[in-house]
Symmetry: C3
Subunit: 440 residues, 3 copies
């Protein structure tokens, strides 16, 4: 995943343009991603799809013709969606167009102006302070023209039409954790799901920020009612512990499943209530949709100093963090696929588990975790509790409870409820991660 | 307010009598208070309006004719509702009639015997210990005669018949915090409300303890169903932080509004659950009425040493505490007047706030409190949440959320629900306290 | 109670057999316990009543004929339900049949093998390490034959058919706290109930572990719907503080009553949520029954080192702990018998308590606990709250609230609701413990 991120990193992405297309095509080499183009000017709810922005070159050169700011060195040097410019001006006149971070003097900030026509440059504060008074040549060789907004989508059908939505942002140029991490982990997750039986259908969407989910929602308004669970993936490659932000509903299954899985995480994790600032969950959770979509991060946006600067680079992105994030998501899929409500077929008193080889024969000592899990599943399975309910009440990992339920089903002591059977027979989400190995 | 309290302080109030009438007439100079007289002997639920008590003089004089206890020096020297007496007795015989506080030797206690005929004197423990054995002349020149119970009421009509009840006690003689503080703050609050447009009607009642609210409830039994919110004001002039005691319901709007406003208070405040001991809320919250009436105090009764003694005097009453209490109540009225449920008119995704001048144009940095408030109001306004609900969820002050809602309404992105519109157009509770300045 | 436990201690009980019969007959000298016999082979839900096990002698003797392990010295020396054996074998061959506790070298463990045919001995680790290599004579003179499972039951009819179930285990040999404590306290409790009027009927069952409650439930399947409250008593004679484990429902009345009573206990007590491991509550709370049955312990099973060893002896059993456990249960019966919902007959404002002699006449000072209890009962008695509800809200002991309710009923200010009247007139559970004194 880190290698894939390395290939994507140099491309200059924005909310539209060639960089987005190149990036999505690169991911399309791994998974059968479908590219969609939505023409500039298309009305999408309260918004309008903007013109397409492409930039060929941009620089500020001093009197000696030396490029003191050079887009060719770093994509972040140009304010995103800058209008074309070709002029000469003094440093004093230019200054209000230059963005730096005094308290982080060697980092280039990331700045945008998608919906107000302007232009500007971003540079390190060290660069800025080194600029001498005098005249400068200022060039942004960019185009803002009618074109289209590009996004990627992959629908993986399951045995039912109930959908799981997985969202990753595809718009930031040369920022690694935000959000190449989400793109590469989502791609590997999709690949894993493609290789497995499943009851749910899965829909992966790779969209630019804000206008992306608004455009997608506007084009899929009548389809979103199939979404049962959803997750926005962003900033999941840094070394920090996991953070889960609940959906607006707060009590959706995903809002219980993620905290449950995170209880088993090695480090302390954070669970946040929904708030209407953040990523695409802002749109999925707008009151007109109110979808059960949460957001998975590691260190939350804007709370690490590398955020939205050139320091969010490939060094900041950790292979082991990407791997751990993928494993967590595979555990989540396993939970969603295997969760079910069951009926205890021997509900009066406990069944004699020893008869079925499920219980030790020597009495007088205690029980182990597996036996506790068997007892919990039997005691709670009156048709109302899901396996996740049971895992929460028993304070045992879902996987342990699910294993116990499967053993009891094999022994004929338990059966899943009708609807959940359908779901369950489709699912084959037990054991190891289905990822086949390294991808190119 | 402190000056007004200073004029009221010397008057000898009780649960009936001339002192109450004089006090209410003095308040009537500021606000159009209506005085009601309920004849002695009137049955009010399980109680009977008592005889009217008036005291002209009372003293205990020693053999040399010196008044060692003298009602003319302090109203508290006589046990309230003492029967008339004119006799001579030895100190030993008199002793059981004398009340002092050994652990607070220079304070005169406040004692009453409203419903059992007896008489007695209160004095400082220093006075008591200075009394020499021997004969004393004992005089209480008081009358207990058929008359009436007096109370004051002010009804301020609003655009709807839904009422807010504000209660202050008017019965304690020469005790400043308990409860001249409540009377003067309520008077100034009424004056402020009179000068403003409003959707709610407001009912101010100035009543003696226990028998007062029972009498009032008995005469207004069929009217109390108009009361939507109510508050008993008592002990709100001392230097301590605020205390709010919830209504019996515990989840009335007032029970959420007061704690919300107190979160912004400068000092740590206390929120207490209802208990059936305290002030007039005992009667308003009796099971036959169960009105949404809470109680606002600063330091709770009986937990400060000055309580019910001559040390609860004008020095103990702080002008700045009275002012702060009034401001809090004006904030409460603002909240009640302006709270409403709204509909987001652009509920699918976020509206493009920048189009309406409500959002900064440069992206890549965070949002400020105002923008968060806009996002919260939009995200939560599905017609179910009130602005107070939103403020609580957003952990932002009501005033900030309300301001955002007004901006969105102006922009045409939000509209209040029908019923709340009616309410809202009447209200004009924005900006500064409407109090015009000093009153005589 | 300790003396009674002392008589029961030497008897070799198991889940079936003569020891159980002798024990139950001994308890039957105090209370009219009925003995039931269920034939071996009877199907009881998923189980089968096992053969009856009786052991006459058992030993391991060394080459010199000395009994190095001797059942006659301690009942725990034989693994329960050992099959008969009479052979010679070397220490090496014997070793896998010998159970000791290395970390507690002077204690004999308690081991069983009820449902898998095997045999074995238990001994102290000191004994084990003293055994020299060589040949041993190994004898277990036991019989496993068709017979019956024996249990005791006592039904004490009350004025209604609503039942309280009290369960004690009767199966462990020569273990004092686990569970002679439960048997003797239950016996004394039954005796106390027999001597009192009561609205509830009480059903005491003395059963062997696991197969006992399963057998009883299987034979009383259509009767259990009468059970309103139930309690398993086990390990209530050790010096530790009380532990209450909630029923599966978690919100049954017993689940609130026990924690309420334990709040007044002298030591810190523990309240545990239900889990499906433990005692007979596992069966009563299986999903096919889901009865409101909790479990009362002192130190929880398996958390004290004496548990399931020969150190759980008569010294470990404390007379004062047994007495305190009995008093708690009598308080529980008092609560169940006297709990009721009442109507305040003077619900508008407070009644004038002074008229009824229920309130002090001098005002200006505070109220005492009794007066607070009167106010709480009046304020809360709108027909929805039980006295336990009120006690919980008021944070006062049930007995204080109940006393206040009785005073108010006497004064004509309160009346219990119809259904609760029926219940209440039957009950006579006020004042002292009805236990007549020492029993043989």
């Amino acid at each position: 995943m880190h290698a894939l991120a390395g290939r994507l990193f140099p491309i200059c992405r924005s909310i539209t343009g060639e960089g987005v297309r190149r990036s999505l095509r690169m991911l399309g080499e791994m998974i059968p991603l479908e590219l969609h183009e939505v023409p500039s000017g298309t009305r999408v709810f309260d918004w309008t799809v903007p013109q397409e922005w492409n930039v060929r070159d941009a620089y500020v050169a001093n009197a000696r013709g030396e490029r003191v700011i050079d887009f060719r060195r770093h994509n972040l040097h140009v304010v995103q969606y800058s209008t074309p410019v070709r002029t000469r001006m003094t440093l004093d006149d230019l200054r209000s167009r230059l963005h730096s971070i005094p308290e982080r003097p060697n980092a280039i900030p990331y700045r945008t102006s998608f919906y107000k026509e302007t232009w500007g440059f971003c540079l390190t504060d060290t660069q800025l302070r080194a600029m001498e008074p005098g005249d400068y040549e200022v060039v942004i060789d960019a185009s803002l023209t009618d074109g289209s907004l590009t996004y990627g989508e992959l629908f993986i059908p399951g045995d039912t039409g109930e959908e799981v939505l997985v969202h990753a942002h595809c718009c930031h140029p040369s920022l690694a954790n935000d959000n190449l991490s989400g793109l590469v982990v989502a791609t590997y997750l999709a690949d894993a799901i493609l290789q497995s039986a499943r009851r749910y259908s899965y829909r992966f969407v790779f969209l630019p920020g804000t206008i992306g989910p608004i455009t997608w929602l506007s084009r899929n308004e009548n389809r979103v009612n199939h979404i049962r669970h959803g997750l926005v993936l962003t900033g999941i490659g840094d070394p920090g512990p996991f953070t889960y932000k609940r959906s607006r509903r707060g009590d959706a299954l995903i809002d219980r499943a993620m905290p449950h899985l995170l209880k088993s995480a090695p480090a302390t994790t954070r669970i946040y209530d929904f708030e209407p600032y953040g990523y695409a969950e802002r749109q999925y959770c707008s009151p007109g949709f109110n979808l059960p979509v949460g957001c998975l991060m590691r260190t939350p946006h804007a709370t690490y100093p590398e955020y939205h600067t050139s320091d969010d680079n490939l060094d900041f992105l950790r292979p082991e963090s990407l791997e751990e994030s993928l494993r967590l998501l595979i555990d989540l899929v396993h939970l969603l696929e295997r969760d079910r409500r069951c009926m205890n077929l021997s509900p009066k008193g406990e069944p004699q588990l020893g008869k079925y080889g499920l219980y030790g024969s020597t009495g007088g000592t205690g029980v182990d975790t597996r036996q506790m899990a068997l007892l919990w599943v039997l005691n709670s399975s009156d048709g109302s509790a899901t396996l996740l309910d049971i895992a929460e009440r028993a304070r045992l990992p879902f996987s342990v409870i699910e294993e116990a339920a499967s053993e009891l089903e094999t022994a004929g002591l338990l059966k899943p409820l009708e609807h959940d059977v359908t779901f369950r027979e489709a699912g084959d989400w037990r054991g190891e991660s289905p990822i086949a190995g390294e991808k190119p």
